[in-house]
């Protein structure tokens, strides 16, 4: 391809629209959350027949699968919630011109929230010195 300057350019290149991707991801994460809700209800109903204690929850978090699941859930919830906030703001007719900046700003906030979640789960991610690891 030549690198000559183009006489006319679009404001956005095809397929780079934040609006399209955020809309699609909102649908996908929404669907995943509905599926999660059923899993959540099922787990609550069938697997916790005994008394739910703090130690029991900590014990469950010893399983790497649960940690991965929790982190994924955290990311999905954060995206869905913050993009929902963006849509609500736009629906009020505010921030329309800055919808892309609004998206990235909220995603930055989301990233910070996610990192905070990772920080909270860090002992379980590294499986080192997790409180309650000696509970039988």
């Amino acid at each position: 391809m030549t690198s000559r300057p183009r006489p006319w350019r679009r404001s956005t290149s095809p397929g780079s629209g934040i609006g399209m991707w955020s809309w699609l991801l909102q649908r996908i994460t929404g669907l995943l959350l509905v599926i999660y809700l059923f899993i959540h209800l099922w787990v609550l109903h069938y697997s916790n027949t005994g008394k739910v204690t703090f130690d029991q929850i900590l014990l469950r978090l010893q399983s790497p699968a649960f940690v991965v699941f929790d982190l994924m859930l955290l990311a999905i919830v954060i995206f869905h919630a913050l993009n929902g906030v963006r849509i609500v703001i736009i629906d009020f007719g505010i921030g329309n011109r800055a919808q892309q900046a609004l998206f990235w700003g909220l995603m930055l906030l989301g990233l910070a929230l996610f990192l905070f979640g990772v920080y909270a789960l860090w002992p379980f991610i590294t499986q080192s010195g997790a409180p309650g690891s000696d509970v039988t």
Partner: protein, 273 residues
């Protein structure tokens, strides 16, 4: 050299399938000498004049004023007259929503370097090759009644402030090409949806201070429904594809705000508009 892969279909070809999800029709391949400054519309002319006289496509002004030559180029809705061949012949992947399905899932179009894919606008019925039936688009447009009524804006001069003019201006640039209509995922889910162009035009008149309050209320009532402004999913596809930089989504959300304001006023002010 540049290779054009052009969608072809005419009445009587119904049974022919050409690949997954492509539906009816076939793709013809034409080779052209690429020149500097050549637009896709010029290429279509060259094909019609030198290679295949049966190719059908719409055009009129050749300068992005009439909006007739709207087509899908490499999977993205564009005006053929406003698209440089050199700009789109690089090959690669374009991800765009496929509004042909009710779910409007993203569809990846891959083109090789030196190749340009030209298809009719999705969301419309094909009449022949690249010519589509835009009746639905114009019906929705007429339904809004986007014009000054008799006696308006009134005799003599009707003044507008610079700011008021600036507010209306982006929406007056619409050339009714239908690109936004074909890119809108809501349109396919709900064919009754009035569409981005019509709703943007509705805001053009609602926000015009020369337009009478009575007429504004009439248009507001027309778009205050799930077929109107409340149907929009704020996907911004219309704003992305508009060759005239009209921001329909902004117009739609502005109408929503206006409707909301009116409702609140009604509640607080005891039915006063």
């Amino acid at each position: 050299m540049v290779v054009f892969r052009v969608f072809r279909w005419e009445k009587g070809m119904d049974g022919e399938k050409s690949g997954k999800g492509e539906g009816k029709g076939r793709y013809d391949v034409f080779q052209l000498e690429e020149k500097e400054g050549m637009t896709v519309l010029e290429a279509l002319f060259a094909i019609k004049e030198e290679l295949d006289g049966t190719l059908a496509f719409r055009y009129s002004c050749r300068g992005a004023v009439c909006g007739s030559c709207a087509v899908l180029i490499n999977g993205f809705p564009r005006l053929a007259c406003r698209t440089q061949v050199r700009e789109v012949m690089g090959g690669g992947r374009v991800v765009a929503l496929d509004v042909r399905g009710p779910l409007a899932l993203p569809r990846v179009r891959k083109t090789e370097p030196g190749e340009v894919l030209v298809e009719p606008l999705p969301g419309f019925k094909v009449i022949k090759d690249l010519v589509v039936d835009i009746k639905g688009f114009f019906n929705a447009y007429r339904e809004i009644t986007p014009w000054f009524r008799d006696g308006a804006p009134g005799e003599g001069e009707s003044r507008m402030s610079q700011r008021e003019r600036e507010r209306v201006e982006p929406y007056t640039n619409c050339i009714l090409c239908g690109l936004c209509y074909s890119a809108c995922p809501v349109q396919k889910r709900d064919p009754e949806f009035l569409g981005p162009a019509s709703l943007a035009k509705a805001w053009r008149f609602i926000s015009d201070p020369r337009f009478k309050e009575r007429d504004k209320a009439e248009i507001l009532e027309k778009v205050d429904s799930p077929r109107g402004v409340w149907g929009c999913d704020t996907v911004y596809m219309c704003t992305d594809v508009c060759p005239k930089k009209v921001p329909p989504t902004q117009g739609i959300t502005s109408i929503r705000r206006q409707l909301l304001k009116n409702s609140i006023k009604k509640i607080l002010g005891g039915g006063k508009r």
